[in-house]
């Protein structure tokens, strides 16, 4: 029996599934927005603002979900501050520790960007739009983008840094979640800008398609790296079917197909986006719960 089968389940269930999903979207969306801000055109701004509007609430929800998942939620601050000495608690080799700081950082930058975006559309004093413009904006975008990428990807690294079946039997999970976060972030942006057809949208569509291809490649490598000794008990069952149908078919292949063959007319893009989101969600469900079921 593989060594990972002598372990106990941490019972990271639905709170964590949603956190990983939403955190991935938020991180991905911010990263996309940052790309558009740093390297795009002024015309890309509306979409990037949309990304900020997604990212900040996403970070708040992420934090809440994470706290709700704690068995002692009132002690969530122990992640950041040592309860005995009140000094900062940071262990770079503990993904949860790093993740907590990462989420905090992401929350901070996405908040700045959120404020900046509100300023851009006139809901807040115009001066605050400097948070996402100019050199200050560049700093916010670079750091926020990096922490967004981090948020999307560390969740997989966290799972791999255990001794659980599947999770710890591969080192590709972080990458997979990162890619998936990016694609679902893009999908949500596409969905929310339903009906528009701008270069930014086309860029997003294109990007999402290639990201999905990359996701499929990473998923295949991941499964191959896990090996059948682990796959048999973990995924050679209903979970595996869900992975194939829900993620590979519905969440990846069909959206790619729709990209090249827009058979649904005006509904093609949003449909594909919805499917990508569904697939991204199912990916988290399968990756977390199939291991939990062992």
């Amino acid at each position: 029996m593989p060594d990972s089968f002598f372990t106990h389940s941490p019972e990271w269930r639905w709170w964590i599934v949603f956190y990983f999903f939403i955190g991935g979207i938020a991180g991905g969306a911010f990263a996309l927005s940052a790309l558009l801000r740093l390297f795009g055109q002024p015309g890309d701004r509306p979409i990037s603002r949309l990304g900020y509007f997604i990212a900040f609430p996403g970070s708040i929800i992420s934090g809440l979900l994470l706290i709700l998942d704690l068995k002692r939620p009132e002690r969530f601050w122990h992640m950041l501050i040592q309860s005995e000495t009140f000094r900062p608690a940071f262990k770079w080799w503990s993904p949860i520790s790093v993740g907590s700081w990462g989420l905090l950082a992401f929350g901070f930058f996405s908040f700045l960007a959120f404020v900046g975006a509100l300023a851009e559309i006139g809901w807040l004093p115009r001066g605050l739009s400097g948070l996402i413009q100019g050199s200050l904006g560049a700093v916010v975008n670079v750091l926020g983008g990096v922490s967004g990428f981090f948020l999307a990807g560390y969740t997989g690294v966290l799972l791999s840094t255990t001794n659980r079946p599947l999770w710890s039997d591969t080192v590709w999970l972080g990458l997979l979640f990162l890619v998936s976060g990016f694609s679902t972030g893009a999908a949500l942006l596409l969905l929310l800008s339903w009906g528009r057809n701008t270069p930014t949208i086309r860029w997003l569509k294109e990007l999402d398609t290639w990201t999905l291809v990359l996701e499929l490649v990473v998923l295949v490598i991941l499964l191959a790296s896990v090996g059948t000794a682990v796959l048999r008990p973990v995924l050679f069952n209903a979970w595996g079917v869900l992975l194939l149908v829900g993620v590979v078919l519905v969440g990846i292949l069909v959206p790619i197909l729709l990209h090249f063959r827009p058979v649904l007319g005006r509904l093609t893009v949003p449909s594909a986006a919805v499917l990508v989101l569904v697939g991204g969600f199912i990916l988290r469900v399968v990756m977390l719960l199939s291991s939990e079921a062992v």
Binding site: W12, K71, E84, A89, S94, L178, L207
Partner: protein, 274 residues
């Protein structure tokens, strides 16, 4: 700093009486599962089933008989936290709740733990779980309170057959070696030690004498630290992030090229509206 202390569990003399389980619960005031009202597991005489937040000692029963009963053994083993020298739980704990004590044992500080369960997923032996009464992660403390008072841990004191031996690690290792040699001399060639040296997680401060493969007892043959995956996993993710960024940039560049090309063609229709 006191000398490293630990358990040597000699399964060859374990009679499966479960005194260790109850003595542990009595001393640490741990509740029975569901108030004691549980169902028969059907797994030999094991009804506590596994280590958990309220089960810090657990006796395993393995019935190993040939169909014609020409050979037959009933293996028993009292399982416990291994108090690894390289402890996975301690490594991943984000709050600092898990500490290494002056006895080289690993203890979860109950007033610090916030129940994130990283340690549960990290432990290669399935030792830790949440105690439903405190909602914190719990496991054997090697009776830290008793150790500080110079007392023997409750389970080791209760164990009637010296299957659970407590003492300084150096002494226990020597005793284990002697016992192993005694058993080998008596023809019990299957006997082996598990976790007595640095080969497993730098050494287990609760190590075992087994009468068969570790897997037979539900022990991983080659347990590792979770951090083995950290660097490669993080590196791949970082590379992925760079790749995705580049993918985006390529797209943006292509977009710009397209626009420039369009402008060159003199078609000024603004496509950026909205």
């Amino acid at each position: 700093m006191a000398e490293p202390m630990g358990f040597f569990t000699d399964t060859s003399v374990c009679i499966g009486c479960k005194a260790c389980e109850v003595a542990c619960k009595a001393w640490n005031q741990l509740p029975a599962r569901n108030g004691g009202k549980v169902q028969l597991s059907g797994i030999s005489y094991d009804n506590t089933v596994s280590l958990s937040g309220i089960q810090w000692r657990h006796v395993k029963f393995i019935e190993d008989f040939a169909p014609d009963r020409s050979t037959g053994r009933w293996l028993m083993m009292s399982d416990v936290c291994k108090h690894c020298v390289q402890a996975a739980c301690l490594e991943v704990c984000p709050t600092g709740a898990i500490i290494r004590t002056e006895f080289d044992t690993v203890v979860i500080q109950q007033d610090v733990c916030n129940g994130c369960r990283a340690c549960i997923a990290a432990c290669p032996f399935g030792v830790i779980e949440i105690n439903p009464e405190t909602n914190t992660a719990m496991k054997c403390t090697l009776c830290y309170d008793r150790l500080q008072a110079g007392m023997v841990p409750a389970c080791a004191q209760a164990c009637p057959t010296h299957s659970i031996q407590f003492g300084p690690i150096s002494e226990l290792r020597q005793r284990a070696q002697e016992r192993l040699e005694q058993l080998h001399a008596a023809g019990v060639t299957q006997a082996r030690l598990y976790g007595h040296d640095e080969s497993i997680l730098g050494g287990l401060n609760a190590f075992y004498l087994l009468l068969d493969e570790p897997e037979k007892y539900g022990l991983p043959s080659n347990p590792q630290l979770p951090s083995r995956n950290l660097a490669p996993s993080a590196a791949l993710s970082a590379a992925g992030a760079v790749a995705l960024g580049l993918l985006g940039l390529v797209g943006l560049r292509k977009q710009r090229m397209d626009r420039l090309a369009a402008e060159e063609r003199g078609q000024g229709e603004g496509s950026h509206a909205g």
